[in-house]
């Protein structure tokens, strides 16, 4: 029998609903797994063991009496440590926030708690969701379960590492320039960023107000749909198109992102091309689509991010700059020097970029693009981390707000995950999940797990 910590969210929920698995057993097995592998990947900042065990016991008795409230009832879900959990610090992985204690749950945590989820703890992030892997902070950086000498992606690094390492079936991350999808890409799991505004951000420490999204990291696309059902407050059933397959789906392949704008590592490029061929073979109508160059999306994203984050960090950069990690300080300081005219040019170009992507969706149902241009590099190779961090195609959809999902598309010769990204029109998450789910089923990667042992 599969160990409970190995179960996907959907499989665990089915066993819980059938009274064949109790939330207490599931959590206990997750804690055993956490004890075994967290010392290798440093996914946790804070463990809330007693509180989560009490929640699991409550879930167990309620399910025995009345059945589960939802598929998330009794499921352990980790939280990136910029998301408020009542009564616990939200450190943002920073010494500047060590004294902070959340007075209330974030809105998205309230939704999950109402659905019956259990919270085992707070997970590592890049400082304030913008730094990079840093060794001059109060907590160590998370590591990649596929190879612990490597970077797990970020900034939702602990969330990616914890889910990939089978410590819990799902975790929350945040995504301002790709920070849910980056760890999904490097850790070989699924990262979903829904349409801007669909998932509430109240109680989540902001990085850039108009670019920030909260999203789930899961092992499967179905699990992402189950999480979004709750996180979008029951707006619709995002599972409803899973299983419809690819036949007839019109896919726009944004080849220039990885071919000419930012030429991808050969193995990553080949994986993205192979994904397009697989979609075609499975019945999708794949055609090439051209958007604006990646550099342009990135410049707009960065300029807006600098401007919006500057108002959040101004006082600390002035009075307590030495308390940031060096990498975070360097990434935030440009905002304090940004000319207002540049911010406005970015905001005006953003409107045009949204229109450009919307126009593409007049011809196709979803877009296929690269996610990362490179597999994960070594975490201690700072120059390569700095060089490869911006080599990605995720920021365009923070700029435009369209829903996007990243999932595994192969393994490199070095044993590290390769990935692709799908993008859909605004509020068409059901179609996005349909495409990603069909791709996941068509490929051989969904059951691959990192070879991580204590």
């Amino acid at each position: 029998m599969t160990a409970p910590h190995e179960l996907t969210l959907a499989d665990a929920a089915a066993l819980i609903a059938a009274r064949r698995l109790s939330p207490v057993e599931l959590l206990a097995d997750c804690w055993a797994r956490i004890a075994e592998v967290n010392p290798l990947v440093d996914a946790f900042i804070r463990m809330t063991r007693d509180e989560s065990e009490a929640s699991a016991r409550e879930a167990e008795s309620e399910i025995i009496r009345n059945g589960p409230r939802s598929p998330l009832h009794g499921i352990p879900i980790g939280l990136k440590d910029i998301i408020d959990l009542e009564g616990h610090p939200t450190t943002c992985h920073s010494r500047l926030r060590l004294d902070h204690v959340a007075a209330a749950d974030a809105a998205v945590v309230r939704l999950l708690r109402t659905a019956g989820a259990v919270f085992p703890g707070k997970l590592a992030t890049h400082e304030f969701a913008i730094g990079g892997p840093a060794f001059d902070l109060p907590f160590p950086p998370a590591r990649n379960p596929w190879n612990t000498a490597h970077h797990p992606g970020g900034s939702s690094s602990g969330s990616g590492a914890a889910v990939a390492a089978r410590m819990m079936p799902a975790a929350l991350g945040t995504d301002t320039g790709g920070s849910v999808r980056h760890p999904a890409s490097h850790c070989g799991i699924v990262g979903l960023k829904a349409t801007y505004g669909l998932v509430p951000r109240e109680g989540v420490f902001p990085l850039a107000f108009s670019l920030d999204h909260v999203g789930p990291l899961t092992r499967t696309v179905r699990d992402a749909a189950l999480m979004l059902n709750c996180m979008a407050a029951g707006r619709e059933d995002y599972q409803r198109h899973l299983g419809l397959g690819l036949r007839g789906l019109r896919v726009g392949f944004v080849r220039h992102f990885h071919e000419t704008d930012m030429p991808a590592d050969p193995e990553m490029g080949a994986a993205v091309e192979a994904a397009a061929q697989l979609l075609s073979k499975e019945g999708a109508q794949v055609r090439t689509v051209t958007l604006a160059p990646l550099d342009e999306f990135a410049a707009v994203n960065r300029t807006i991010l600098y401007g919006e984050s500057s108002v959040i960090h101004e006082a600390w950069l002035r009075d307590r700059a030495d308390e940031y990690a060096a990498v975070t300080r360097r990434r935030l300081l440009p905002g304090l020097f940004l000319p207002a005219v540049d911010f406005m040019h970015a905001a005006r170009r953003r409107a045009q970029l949204v229109a450009l992507v919307e126009a593409a969706f007049g011809e196709v149902d979803v877009l296929l693009t690269a996610s990362s241009m490179d597999p994960a590099c070594r975490i201690d190779d700072t120059p390569t981390v700095e060089r490869t961090y911006p080599r990605q195609a995720r920021t365009p959809f923070n700029v435009t707000g369209h829903p996007a999902i990243t999932l595994m598309a192969g393994l490199s010769s070095g044993g590290l995950p390769l990935s692709v990204q799908f993008v859909a029109p605004s509020f068409c998450e059901a179609m996005l999940l349909r495409a990603a789910h069909a791709f996941e089923r068509a490929g051989p990667w969904k059951d691959m797990a990192p070879p991580l042992h204590a």
């Binding site: 342009e296 410049a299 707009v300 300029t303 950069l317 700059a321 030495d322 300080r329 170009r349 953003r350």
Partner: protein, 62 residues
């Protein structure tokens, strides 16, 4: 950039003390902005509106 210009710029940004402690970080921030500026499209159409759009206050009770 000469030292006087650097100091003036840091002071204007409210970062005079930070510039004393982390001058290299400030120089890197300025270089980063210059790089992004080169990639940022600039449109001369005076009527082009930004996104997010500015919003009027809601009426009472909305």
């Amino acid at each position: 950039m000469d030292h006087a210009a650097f100091t003036t710029l840091a002071g204007a940004a409210g970062l005079a003390d930070t510039a004393l402690r982390f001058p290299d970080d400030i120089k890197e921030a300025l270089a980063t902005l210059a790089r992004h500026k080169a990639n940022l499209p600039r449109n001369s159409d005076p009527t082009l509106e930004p996104l997010p759009a500015y919003r009027a206050p809601k009426a009472h009770g909305e």
